[in-house]
Symmetry: C2
Subunit: 218 residues, 2 copies
DNA sequence: GGCAGAATGGACCAGCTGGTCCGTGTTCGC
DNA sequence: GCGAACACGGACCAGCTGGTCCATTCTGCC
């Protein structure tokens, strides 16, 4: 379900229409990720998506509606990329693999651009309340995956059970977002690596002292 | 030294001129912090600063030059606000006081707006290389204060001396920036509190075990 | 096979945006 | 006290931006 919210009267969509709509959102998402929302014009979206002005305004009431669809698509994209790592997260090892994947991802892109959701958050949060709510919900959803993983670690005795998983998850998310921002500014994946290391080290420190506990096969 | 860089030919500035220039940068900084760089028009700056178009372009070659001045002013403002806390930082207690001041600051503003530098970073880093370099330098400078404080803590035996203070500082900065972003999106100071707590807890965990060591007066 | 509604093409527009220009007032240094 | 450079006011403009409109072509469905 990569497609995003409708709005402009839940009109019927033919298969062809749905495809066109998707091309528009995809093009808009890429442009806005690279140039910002304000830095992306409707004409650019038209050209990049190979559609026309009338189509754009046929599927979206105005730019705000398009932006809403873009937020939803980016949220879906990010979650799709993260899910494989977070879905069954249940150990510090898994968390470290998650960290490695992120650092590698940023490194491959030479730390150009920021987090798809984070940059939208920074630009839109103060400008549009509906956008803020949507973005905040995305963060929450994202964090809930981390929290669930941490809870599993607690159950397995890898992490101190007295600390609230949701709060730890927020802390880790903050490290991720801040790490992304610093990496973007430094054009290096190192800040992200340091930020996530600090966050993970925190769980390790909280770990039940039996560091070398009986490891299940795997 | 709140005023920012010149550029448009280091022309001579009369006292009156310097004042006008400063009013312009100040107004631009406030507008851009609230509405973003792209969301701030030169006409708005003119109106908010009570100047005229010709003055604006008398002191700044173009919008980019104005933005550069704004970055420098915001960097100075942030550092001015942080220096009292970071200048002689040398204990975990001091770090916690820094944390408290930040959380209070965000709470007072009901978590509206983001970090003055962080939001500029997010918007400009990909769009302007000179801006990126300037912003990155600001982060470095900022982190160096934190690193110096951590080094002092190490010397006093409060923090494990085997960890690189600069790397810890980057991690803390990331927690700060990410915490700010999440707080802005959630309209609550809590994410910031959790993020900084996680970062600080990390130093505590690293602390030499003699937790209740001989405390110097104060 | 024909019609209602979806999909599309693209010309057109009013308002805004960054930036220019020129004339006037002020101030500093000699 | 006087000229040069600085400070200032504000009309003006070309290009862009989000958005409108209407005519035409497809498509699903009875």
């Amino acid at each position: 379900m990569t497609s995003a919210g409708a709005e402009p009267s839940a009109r019927r969509l033919t298969a062809r229409g749905a495809l066109t709509r998707d091309r528009i959102v995809r093009a808009a998402a890429d442009l806005m990720h690279a140039n910002g929302v304000a830095g992306t014009t409707m004409d650019q979206v038209v050209e990049a998506s190979g559609t026309s002005k009338s189509q754009l305004y046929h599927y979206f009431e105005d730019k705000d509606a398009l932006v809403t669809a873009v937020i939803k698509m980016q949220a879906a994209r990010v979650m799709e990329r993260q899910e494989p790592h977070l879905e069954q997260l249940s150990s510090l090892q898994g968390l470290r693999r998650w960290r490695d994947a992120i650092v590698r991802f940023i490194d491959e892109r030479h730390a150009a651009h920021g987090c798809e959701i984070g940059s939208l958050a920074s630009e839109l949060t103060d400008r549009s309340e509906p956008a803020r709510i949507l973005i905040n919900a995305t963060f929450q959803h994202w964090e809930s995956y981390l929290a669930a993983g941490i809870r599993r670690m607690q159950e397995r005795g890898q992490v101190d059970p007295s600390t609230d998983p949701a709060e730890l998850a927020t802390g880790i998310m903050a490290a991720y977002q801040g790490g992304y921002l610093l990496s973007q500014a430094a054009r290096s994946a190192q800040p992200m690596a340091l930020a996530l290391d600090l966050a993970i080290r925190n769980l390790e420190a909280l770990a039940v002292q039996e560091k070398r506990a009986p490891e299940a096969a795997s």
